[in-house]
């Protein structure tokens, strides 16, 4: 597979994963906001911005719909849902002959849907007015479209190298996003239990789980009894839940091994070591150990390791030196 193609598939997938994550955070928090006092609303939205990695030029101004609007449609903001979908579609356009017609069709329809000019005006004016169903409907439709895209990808594309790069992009993005989400909640809630005095902690913990589509899955394992340490354990270390950091890293490793198997080279050793180390630390740690350490540093280190994996993938498959390749 061409390096450029691998690059585009990887980013197409990362951008879509990012779009889905941002969409869900907005949807969950717009919904929970209705049950909350204005004071906790502010904290909640600050936390959302924290969980999205504090996007540049976007500030909380006390107006949740304006913030939603900015995070959804502001193309100045590279992390907005619209920017991510445009970037994903642009990447897929560069590799159209590599993805299935059904994939292209689904992604292109999503793109056409969100870039319709009246879309933005309608959502804005109606959201700022009385009715608040529109942003929610819109966000739902985006999530559905992304899910459909993933389904169509899995069922119409060869599960060869290209598909594996799509997996790599999805799971590296997901692992980072979940780690960042836990970090944001940790700064705000775990670190300051005294702030939880207003009796709404159930909503906060539910919000965290929902932000990772984890509420129902969590309940199946631990019942609806939401305790912070179990939530932390579930989102970080659960082996079977697709949005947990551990599951993401396991899947990432699995895809990387397939790609390494195809390429049959020994020079992937560095990448194997990096990703394997991260995987074992997640597989063989207990939640108590982690919580007794510096949790924020631990979560930051996961993100740093993901970045290192990303860079190593690039050096190995995409941006390698021609001289070295000719010599090898």
């Amino acid at each position: 597979m061409l390096s450029r193609v691998a690059d585009s598939l990887y980013w197409m997938s990362r951008y879509l994963e990012r779009a889905e994550h941002t969409t869900r955070l907005l949807d969950v928090n717009l919904n929970l906001m209705l049950d909350e006092s204005p004071i906790s609303a502010e904290r909640r939205w600050q936390r959302v911005l924290q969980a999205l990695g504090k996007p540049k030029n976007i500030e909380w101004t006390g107006e949740p719909y304006a913030l939603t609007q900015a995070l959804t449609f502001d193309t100045e903001n590279k992390a907005s849902i619209l920017s991510c979908i445009i970037a994903a579609r642009e990447n897929s356009r560069h590799v159209r002959e590599q993805i299935s017609t059904e994939q292209w069709h689904r992604l292109n329809s999503l793109y056409l849907q969100v870039t319709r000019p009246e879309m933005q005006h309608r959502t804005q004016s109606e959201a700022l007015g009385a009715g608040m169903t529109q942003p929610s409907e819109f966000l739902q439709s985006v999530m559905e479209a992304v899910h459909q895209f993933q389904g169509v990808t899995d069922s119409t594309m060869n599960h060869g190298e290209g598909w594996q790069f799509i997996q790599v992009g999805r799971y590296i993005e997901r692992a980072c996003a979940t780690a960042l989400l836990l970090q944001a909640y940790h700064i705000d809630l775990w670190g300051h239990p005294e702030r939880m005095a207003d009796g709404n902690e159930y909503l906060d913990w539910m919000g965290l789980l929902r932000s990772a589509t984890a509420f129902e899955a969590y309940c199946k394992v631990y019942t609806a009894d939401l305790t912070p340490d179990q939530i932390f354990e579930f989102l970080l270390l659960d082996e079977e839940f697709p949005h947990s950091v551990r599951f993401s890293i396991d899947s990432l490793l699995c895809a990387l091994e397939k790609i390494q198997g195809d390429s049959g080279k020994s020079r992937a050793e560095g990448l194997r070591r990096l990703s394997g180390r991260l995987q074992s630390s997640l597989s063989y740690s207990s939640v108590d150990e982690i919580l007794s350490l510096d949790v924020l540093a631990y979560l930051s280190s996961i993100q740093a390791q993901c970045r290192a994996i990303h860079e190593t993938i690039y050096e190995l498959y995409v941006d390698y030196s021609i001289q070295a390749a000719l010599a090898g």
């Binding site: 597979m1 061409l2 390096s3 450029r4 691998a6 642009e90 356009r93 560069h94 159209r96 002959e97 590599q98 017609t101 292209w104 069709h105 292109n108 329809s109 056409l112 190298e161 790609i259 195809d262 390429s263 049959g264 080279k265 498959y317 995409v318 390698y320 021609i322 390749a325 000719l326 090898g328």
Partner: protein
């Protein structure tokens, strides 16, 4: 004048060509809402599939669908046999011509084609002199534009020998047509065209360098911003070959490689959709960022084949076009089956005089341009435009040719909810490898603006499906 144009459906006052009867009957039975519904279904299908071309120089919506007309254009088996014969003859002669002018130059010595016409072509490449091209195939893929005169005869308007495009629209038009009018389609015996991509792949494979039995074939595209990018992606996918851009390729020791995730992989045959000028910054334009440095040397060393070869553009220079009938006679000792449109060469003083006096009646074209750019259509032009062209011609007569304004044939098209006649041309796609292959049909382009004679997609043209009947 244009009222005398041949009509693809009607023979005279309300009479139909026999083969069009079921077609018109079918359409006249459909209520207008139903037609509109199917038209919208077709448009939506093109848009959602992203079957678009890129319009340069416009800010809003750079991707547009190529307008598609629902009424197919029908060509009878007998008419097609003539077209096929004529095109085979033409591509054979043009390949012999290119081999000759880049080697011995017999036709130049014999004075059939003036030396200065060849050497002054914008697309003449002296770097090709004396070079052996695999199987002597210079033009592997050709898209020749045909029009029909008032008497219904097909004539050649121009040859496109560099990177002719549009074949993906031919293929997707057919696919949409079969879905939207299945019964009508079945009731005609239409010859299939779906095998085109396989034939193209076979043609490319037959051109592999010696000793490369399992050639690695790629399609080289300028990239996603090119107006024909959809087509490049479509063809690569249909053929199952890699779609590459210049930045994916590197050359080393005169071998071309592509950069893959498992390292560098050798490339043997390149179906290039990048013009000569931009393909190798070392050999041609130094400012090109689309190309591959060192590609020409690898080509010269015989390590990679290009389709089409460098320098084929000589033979589609519009001034050289005037000599093609002579070229056919010279190499094949046959009369041309398809005639040329009468062409005035402005380097000849008498012809130039005539043209300058009749600019309001003629079509003037710049010789090295395509896509409908650099044209003056006399009867539809203003005095100022004519004067502008007169100045250009006098400044550089070699750069222009003139032809009579031909009322080429028209076919009924669905405009709004009624049928209206629009001028059409036909671009069949000719493949030349082991042998000449032409899938029956081609791209029928439609000048959608009423009375217009320009069918190029960049100039507001559309297209329709072209049916060649098997009997």
């Amino acid at each position: 004048m244009l009222d005398h144009a041949y009509d693809e459906m009607f023979t005279g006052l309300g009479d139909l060509h026999q083969h069009c009867e079921p077609l018109l009957e079918h359409f006249s039975l459909l209520p207008s809402e139903e037609l509109q519904r199917r038209k919208q279904a077709a448009d939506l299908s093109f848009l959602n599939q992203g079957i678009t071309f890129t319009v340069y120089g416009r800010e809003e919506g750079t991707e547009k669908i190529f307008p598609y007309d629902l009424i197919p254009r029908i060509i009878t088996a007998a008419e097609w046999a003539t077209v096929e014969h004529g095109l085979t003859q033409r591509i054979t002669a043009l390949n012999l011509f290119l081999k000759d002018i880049y080697n011995e130059g017999r036709i130049l010595d014999d004075g059939i084609v003036p030396r200065e016409v060849v050497y002054s072509c914008k697309h003449y490449r002296r770097q090709m002199m004396g070079l052996q091209v695999p199987r002597n195939v210079y033009i592997a893929v050709c898209g020749t534009d045909l029009i029909r005169l008032e008497n219904g005869e097909f004539v050649v308007l121009e040859d496109n020998l560099r990177v002719p495009s549009g074949v993906s629209y031919m293929l997707t038009n057919r696919r949409v047509m079969k879905r939207i009018f299945p019964q009508l389609f079945r009731s005609y015996n239409v010859r299939p065209i779906e095998q085109y991509t396989q034939l193209l792949l076979g043609t490319l494979r037959s051109l592999a360098p010696e000793g490369r039995p399992e050639p690695n074939i790629v399609l080289l595209s300028p990239g996603v911003f090119n107006s024909a990018y959809f087509e490049h992606a479509y063809l690569a996918r249909q053929m199952g070959i890699e779609l590459v851009e210049g930045r994916d390729l590197v050359t080393h020791d005169n071998v071309v490689y592509m950069r893959t995730t498992i390292g560098l992989r050798r490339v043997d045959v390149i179906y290039r959709r990048v013009d000569d000028d931009f393909i190798d910054p070392l050999a041609f334009r130094g400012d090109s960022i689309l190309g591959v440095a060192g590609l020409f040397n690898a080509y010269r060393a015989g390590n990679v084949t290009l389709a089409n070869a460098f320098g084929t553009g000589v033979a589609d220079d519009k001034a050289l076009y005037a000599y093609v009938p002579e070229i056919i006679k010279y190499y094949l000792s046959e009369e041309p089956v398809l005639k040329n449109v009468e062409t005035y060469l402005l380097t000849r003083p008498k012809e130039r005089q005539h043209v300058l006096q009749n600019l309001d009646k003629l079509v003037v074209k710049a010789v090295g341009e395509s896509g409908g750019y650099g044209m003056l259509i006399g009867p539809q032009s203003t005095k100022a435009e004519q004067e502008d062209f007169a100045r250009k011609i006098e400044a550089d007569p070699r750069n222009y040719i003139a032809q009579p304004t031909i009322s080429f044939s028209r076919a009924p098209c669905l405009i709004g909810d009624e049928l209206q006649p629009r001028h059409v041309d036909l671009r069949p796609y000719v493949l030349y490898g082991d042998k000449v292959t032409i899938v029956p049909g081609g791209l029928t382009r439609v000048a959608l603006n009423q009375g217009s004679l320009v069918v190029n997609s960049s100039q507001g043209g559309g297209s329709k499906d072209t049916w060649v009947l098997s009997q």
